[in-house]
């Protein structure tokens, strides 16, 4: 717990960092939704049927999507663009966050944005190379998830719905855990790439190796449980909100902001904890 608790304390001392990262998340989200929103405006703003649709009438939803697949394309296009952009930006920012929050033995009481940006820029190319190399680690969750799915098939296939749900859940769990593990392993690799004069691919290898030791399990569980809990709470409350009143839209927005802040704090703490752990 040492690395995690130190990381949490350091992240808490940088509220503006968390707010800034969450704000970028929300701005990119807003940008991603614009094409979809514009497509929908023409289609549903003038139609009373839209009210029935958001109250759960799936017939109207199916008809809309069947007649206007371009709306889905707009949504997918927007989402894909921001995912790629934020993924790339996050690789670069990780270098700055590790340099200013994780790697120093003692961090100043108030850090500066300028230091963060400077450190990010200084190490950007190494972080990008490592991020690209790290994509190979993302294959592991896919392979493990697939292996679990097929290995459980003899037990769960062709049974009832609860068996199917259990099977799917176990597969998703293995996928999620291994994804979180790959993230932590890459965070280790990033920290090593910043502190040791080694090539990127060696840092990657050492990061993987480092991830087989403590406190990886705790950091992985913190990352996954934190993400899942925040997302589930947000989704549950949002689902319970009525479809149309203005106040419900405001509450949904506030929930989204809160969830973004929470998830950003978890992700940043995970990164910083991994960085601290490499120094132990």
């Amino acid at each position: 717990m040492g690395a995690l608790s130190v990381a949490w304390a350091r992240v808490k001392s940088r509220p503006r960092l968390i707010v800034g990262l969450a704000l970028i998340n929300l701005l990119l989200t807003f940008a991603a939704t614009r094409p979809f929103s514009a497509a929908l405006a023409n289609l549903i703003d003038g139609r009373p049927g839209a009210s029935a649709m958001v109250r759960g009438n799936d017939g109207l939803l199916a008809e809309l999507l069947s007649d206007h697949p371009e709306a889905i394309s707009a949504a997918m296009g927007g989402a894909q663009a921001v995912l790629v952009l934020w993924g790339l930006l996050a690789w670069i920012l990780a270098g700055g966050i590790l340099s200013t929050l994780a790697l120093p033995a003692v961090v100043p009481a108030r850090g500066s944005l300028r230091d963060l940006v400077a450190e990010s820029a200084q190490h950007a190319w190494r972080m990008i190379k490592l991020g690209a190399l790290g994509l190979t680690a993302r294959l592991v969750p896919l392979l493990l998830g697939g292996a679990v799915w097929f290995s459980l098939k003899p037990i769960f296939a062709h049974r009832g719905f609860s068996q199917l749900a259990t099977w799917s859940f176990l597969t998703a769990l293995v996928f999620a855990l291994s994804w979180a593990w790959a993230t932590v392993a890459l965070d280790y690799a990033r920290a090593l790439a910043l502190t040791e004069p080694i090539k990127v691919h060696r840092a990657f290898g050492r990061g993987i190796k480092r991830s087989l030791r403590a406190p990886t399990v705790m950091i992985v569980l913190f990352s996954l449980v934190g993400f899942a809990a925040i997302t589930l709470v947000q989704a549950s409350i949002a689902h319970a909100l009525p479809a149309e009143p203005a106040w419900a839209a405001i509450v949904a927005f506030l929930l989204r902001v809160g969830a973004a802040l929470g998830r950003t704090a978890v992700a940043t703490t995970t990164l910083v904890a991994a960085g601290i752990a490499t120094r132990a």
């Binding site: 990262l21 970028i24 929908l40 003038g46 799936d58 989704a235």
Partner: protein, 637 residues
């Protein structure tokens, strides 16, 4: 265990005094299943009666199993070895071969002519009207690997369309005397005459055997057992055999007494067994109320094993096969399939319309019964699913299927003449259901129920055609509905009404110079206001060629409403304008506000707001935004 079940089995096939049908073709079959070679060898004795007014000079038989003989069959050429979502397996061929046929004591084997899935034999002496003849046939069926209703999979045998079956001899106008028997096409099903079936079916002892009708006895014969079945006033007979079957017996009670529901389940599928049984009971209750009690003593439900899905979702007289789907209770797929196949006992089973020449009259009517059955069990709005705040009604699901094929083929198209399998499915099943539901919305559920019941009671155990249905319905309803039947059944005209515009103008005096009394002239300024501020206009437009009366709901900004009706443009004008002068402007307007016209192909253009409202869009994009934000956090921060 089977002997015990036998002891308790119903002794008679009918719950009501028979005969219920003309009993044209009566079969006594002895057959034996050899699982290792997946063959059935049999001997049948058919007592056939010529109840038509013309002599029969030939006999025509269906040899449906030859559809699976090779890729040259009509069925294979049209289906490319695929039905619904199942595909034929290599080396899984099937066939049926007759080794001997004796008609009225004459051996006519040499005169037996086979053409794909039809066979004919020229008679030495024609069978005159009113006469009866005994026909004996020896045959051997090789069951295919199941992908299209019948066949085998491992140790499961779906033995349907397995014996040489006579076609229907029909002398009704305008075509005159002919055998109504077509090749088995990819899109067609089956058609034969009513009668009785006494079937002695031999199978290895380890097999549990289910069949149409009721079990009347069982004998042991070495390593085999012989199951004796009897079915009355049916036009087909099927057998299902599997050592894994586990019987679940549930009685259904109604005013006539009891129907034995026997589900033959596959271990592992237990979660859905209660759903199938509950759906069967709901269907028996609803269809019994609408059309009269189910007259047979037993309903057998076959739970299909995994890998044999091609045999699922199929109807035979008093025996149905259903699907096991691992879906939560809120998704009513198991119930949908069971109720649909049960519905076929009424339309296909008791009303024996021609599934080949008029498929809409059995599949479409049965889809409507499915709709009514699901509505009875779950309510209309949530009849297909009700899950995590989402819902779908069956008419809505049917509408979605129909609308993509709306202009392809009319329902009266013969099954094998449809443009494609997609068109066949969408039109015969979905469009027919939507047509009948639209009519129900127009004339009211009570009148619909009465007219459908009248048709059923008039034509049960006969073979009605489209004109018979239309005449019966109109007579029972008391009005000529040709204006509806013509576009609905015999054309591809589309029904589509829209609210084209909603406009509100502030009412004010007309500006300009106006002559007043006494020769004075007054100037009215453009911005002067009058007592009543709003003049509103709503235009309804008919986009399609199908003319149908519509209801319009107009909602004002104070929440008040007005309802209007329009005949839909019978005079050839495709639009109608509704105007309102009042204190309040129109907020929005909607045609078919009660969703009684599922035949309308576009639900979205049914309504229009005077001013856009982005609240629903905000909700939708908000949900999408939450998903994107979570994904961004998952890959980064």
């Amino acid at each position: 265990m089977h002997a015990l079940g036998l002891f308790l089995a119903a002794a008679t096939a009918l719950r009501v005094p028979g005969p219920l049908s003309p009993r044209v073709a009566n079969y006594a079959i002895q057959a034996k299943l050899t699982p290792d070679s997946h063959t059935v060898e049999g001997h049948e004795k058919i007592t056939w009666r010529n109840l038509q007014n013309g002599p029969a000079k030939t006999l025509v038989f269906h040899l449906y199993m030859n559809a699976f003989k090779n890729e040259g069959s009509t069925f294979y050429k049209e289906s490319h070895g695929r039905l619904r979502s199942t595909t034929a397996e290599k080396h899984g061929w099937g066939s049926i071969d007759v080794s001997k046929i004796v008609v009225g004591g004459e051996d006519l084997t040499k005169a037996w002519k086979v053409d794909d899935t039809l066979a004919s034999v020229e008679l030495v002496k024609p069978i005159p009207p009113g006469a009866e003849v005994v026909i004996e046939v020896d045959w051997k069926t090789v069951l295919p690997k199941v992908f299209a209703r019948a066949g085998y999979h491992d140790d499961f045998f779906a033995i349907g369309q397995w014996f040489p079956k006579l076609g229907v001899w029909d002398c009704s106008p305008p075509q005159g005397c002919r055998w109504r028997a077509h090749q088995h096409h990819a899109n067609s099903e089956f058609f034969s005459d009513y009668g009785t079936y006494d079937v002695d079916f031999t199978a290895p002892k380890k097999f549990w055997v289910g069949g149409s009708g009721v079990v009347t006895g069982e004998d042991q014969k070495g390593d085999d057992k012989v199951m004796h079945f009897r079915a009355e006033d049916v036009h087909d007979f099927a057998v299902m055999a599997c050592p894994k079957f586990k019987p679940v017996d549930e009685p259904y009670k109604d005013a006539l007494g009891e129907v034995k529901i026997e589900l033959l389940g596959i271990p592992g599928h237990e979660a859905n067994w209660p759903r199938h049984i509950a759906a069967a009971k709901a269907g028996l209750e609803e269809f019994g109320r609408r059309f009269g009690p189910y007259p047979y003593s037993q309903l057998t439900i076959i739970d299909i094993p995994d890998g044999a899905e091609g045999a699922g979702g199929m109807e035979y007289p008093t025996l149905i096969t259903t699907f096991d789907a691992p879906v939560p209770r809120g998704i009513h797929l198991p119930e949908l399939v069971t109720i649909h196949e049960l519905g076929h006992q009424y339309f296909y089973g008791m009303v024996g319309s021609d599934e080949v020449e008029e498929a809409w009259m059995d599949e479409g009517f049965t889809e409507t019964l499915t709709d009514w059955g699901l509505q009875h069990q779950f309510g209309r709005e949530r009849s297909d699913w009700d899950f995590l705040g989402h819902h779908m009604s069956h008419p809505e699901l049917e509408r979605l299927s129909y609308r993509r094929a709306a202009t392809w083929d009319p329902p009266e198209t013969r099954a094998f003449d449809f443009m494609s399998n997609s068109s066949y499915g969408a039109i015969t099943y979905a469009k027919t259901n939507v047509i009948l539901r639209t009519l129900e919305g127009l004339i009211g559920p009570d009148a619909m129920e009465a007219a459908m019941r009248a048709y059923f009671l008039r034509w049960r155990f006969h073979h009605p055609r489209i004109d018979d249905f239309v005449a019966s319905f109109d007579q029972a309803y008391g009005k000529d509905l040709t204006w509806f039947w013509q576009p609905a059944l015999r054309s591809t005209e589309v029904l589509d009404y829209e609210v084209l515009s909603v406009q509100n103008r502030e009412k004010r005096p007309l500006a300009g110079l106006w002559d007043a009394d006494g020769g004075a002239r007054k100037e009215v300024e453009p911005d002067e206001k009058s007592g009543k501020p709003w003049s509103s206009e709503v235009v309804v437009h008919r986009r399609g060629g199908f003319i149908f009366p519509v209801t319009l709901k107009v909602v004002f900004d104070d929440g008040s409403e007005k309802r209007e009706t329009w005949d839909g443009g019978k005079d050839g004008v495709t639009w109608k304008k509704f105007t309102y002068d009042g204190d309040h402007k129109v907020s929005w307007a909607q045609v078919d506000p009660d969703e009684k016209v599922p035949l309308d192909v576009n639900r979205w253009n049914d309504g229009l707001r005077a001013e856009p409202d982005d609240a629903p869009r905000t909700r939708v994009t908000g949900t999408f935004a939450s998903l994107v934000s979570a994904l961004l956090s998952w890959v980064a921060f």
